[in-house]
């Protein structure tokens, strides 16, 4: 059941971003911006800084130079900050094996300020509705990934940062991820996705990070 709530119109701007981690220049002079309803694929070789870029946007990293800004039509100041408007799905699944699927997701739902009734729907959407009361430790790697993706659905947040969302998923899973993102974009959300796969998403551009010059280019 697709969610129809629309986001207010927003935009994320990354300008002249430079990142230094462990005295190494990871990224320099990265520029792009994404508007509501659009997505960007980050591509590039391993170690080129895709994850670092996502982590910088998610607010984990100290920014060496440049700016990441978040603009929104919403006047409510509380909801205006970037950090309260994003989901970051990392490699690690943040799943507790001794809790049930429902408890796992309910926890994130409450913590992110989502509505509790969305939990069951979210589990259905990611295809885990048959195992709601099972312990999460019984899940396979792919199912765990699906459960962690379900986190995206329990709280409405306009910006999705996805780091290899299709890792350990099967073909059905790839389609699921593409559907989730499409649906999100239709509602006016934004997605930034680091991936090697060609996910079939209409409103997406590709942003290539390269090692030689460490600049990004929009392709």
């Amino acid at each position: 059941m697709p969610n129809k709530e629309a986001y207010s119109s927003q935009q994320i701007n990354v300008s002249k971003l430079s990142l230094i981690r462990s005295e190494r220049l990871i990224l320099s002079d990265v520029n792009f911006s994404v508007k509501s309803g659009k997505a960007i694929f980050l591509r590039g070789d391993n170690g080129v800084g895709k994850t670092s870029l996502l982590m910088a946007i998610a607010g984990y990293l100290h920014i060496g130079a440049g700016e990441i800004s978040w603009r929104t039509d919403n006047d409510n100041e509380e909801e205006n900050s970037l950090i309260d408007n994003l989901h970051f799905i990392a490699h690690q699944t943040a799943i507790k094996p001794t809790l049930s699927l429902k408890d796992n997701l309910m926890f994130w739902c409450t913590l992110y300020g989502g509505a509790p009734e969305k939990v069951i729907d979210a589990l259905k959407t990611v295809g885990l509705s048959h195992a709601i009361d099972f312990e999460a430790g019984l899940l396979s790697a792919g199912q765990k990934k699906r459960l962690s993706l379900a986190r995206l659905l329990v709280a409405n947040r306009a910006l999705w940062l996805l780091d290899e969302p299709t890792s350990s998923l099967d073909r059905e899973g790839d389609k699921l991820v593409a559907n989730l993102i499409d649906n999100h974009l239709e509602r006016g959300g934004i997605a930034i996705i680091a991936t090697h796969l060609d996910l079939n998403i209409k409103n997406a551009k590709t942003f290539i990070l390269t090692k030689t010059n460490q600049h990004g280019e929009i392709a």
């Binding site: 462990s22 005295e23 090692k211 010059n213």
Partner: protein, 254 residues
């Protein structure tokens, strides 16, 4: 196109002299003067201490241990304060030189604290009749030594020294806030258990003792400045060498 960032552009005077590369340049001129100054001060101070200051009417010649003991006790605390100031530099301004100065100060602080404890024990044996007395000051100094050693151990546990610096800065600052509480609690504990058998409080000093003590304190402080500067230079160079090594490894791989 690769953009070159000139790190010295847009810096105020403090950032300029505190930039690690610049620091290497100008601090080189400091080493020799500091070494000479500290040698002179030690010469004069020790001469005063051994030949030109009176014996104590109770402690006799052993009072001369004080001229080594007190400067080291002073430095044991001064070095921690310096570490704490550097820790603020690391956390607030993320200054690379603050990282380095914090790191190299820890072993020096531990050394001075060990000296203070050791000379205190040597002094305590003839004066109090025991090497170790659970006196408020000695106990607090021992705890300080344990804090230094813990911090050194922590530095050694991290592979990534840059991340280590920020985390160690936190524990250093928590420590510095805690030191007065520790001091207070140890004094409380001490009076609870043994109503002041020994006390070094309220010693009035004649100038003949005061002068060499002051010179020796100055000498040790200059020695610390010398060692600290030299160790900072070594650490900066070591990190530079590390970076070069990593760079050449990366080139071979890619």
């Amino acid at each position: 196109m690769t953009q070159k960032i000139d790190p010295l552009k847009k810096m105020n005077w403090f950032d300029r002299i505190a930039h690690p590369g610049q620091f290497l340049k100008w601090s080189g001129y400091l080493i020799l003067p500091l070494a000479i100054l500290s040698a002179i001060l030690f010469g004069v101070g020790l001469w005063f201490a051994f030949f030109n200051s009176p014996e104590d009417y109770q402690m006799g010649n052993t009072v001369r241990i004080m001229y080594i003991h007190v400067p080291n006790a002073w430095l044991s605390q001064l070095v921690y304060v310096m570490m704490a100031v550097s820790a603020i530099g690391t956390l607030v301004w993320r200054h690379p030189l603050a990282d380095v100065s914090m790191k190299v100060a820890a072993p020096l602080g531990a050394a001075f604290t060990t000296m203070a404890l050791f000379t205190g024990m040597l002094w305590g044996r003839p004066t109090w009749g025991t090497y170790w007395e659970w006196d408020g000051r000695m106990t607090a100094t021992l705890i300080l030594l344990l804090m230094y050693l813990g911090i050194i151990a922590l530095w050694r546990s991290f592979d990534d020294q840059l991340r280590a610096a920020k985390l160690i800065a936190i524990i250093t600052l928590v420590g510095v806030i805690n030191i007065p509480i520790i001091k207070f609690s140890v004094d409380w504990w001490n009076t609870l258990h043994q109503p002041s058998i020994v006390s070094t409080e309220g010693l009035s000093m004649p100038a003949s003792i005061y002068t060499p003590l002051l010179i020796m304190t100055f000498a040790f402080t200059v020695l610390f400045a010398l060692l600290q500067t030299n160790a900072t230079r070594t650490e900066i160079l070591r990190r530079k060498a590390d970076r070069q090594l990593r760079k050449s490894l990366n080139k071979e791989n890619g």
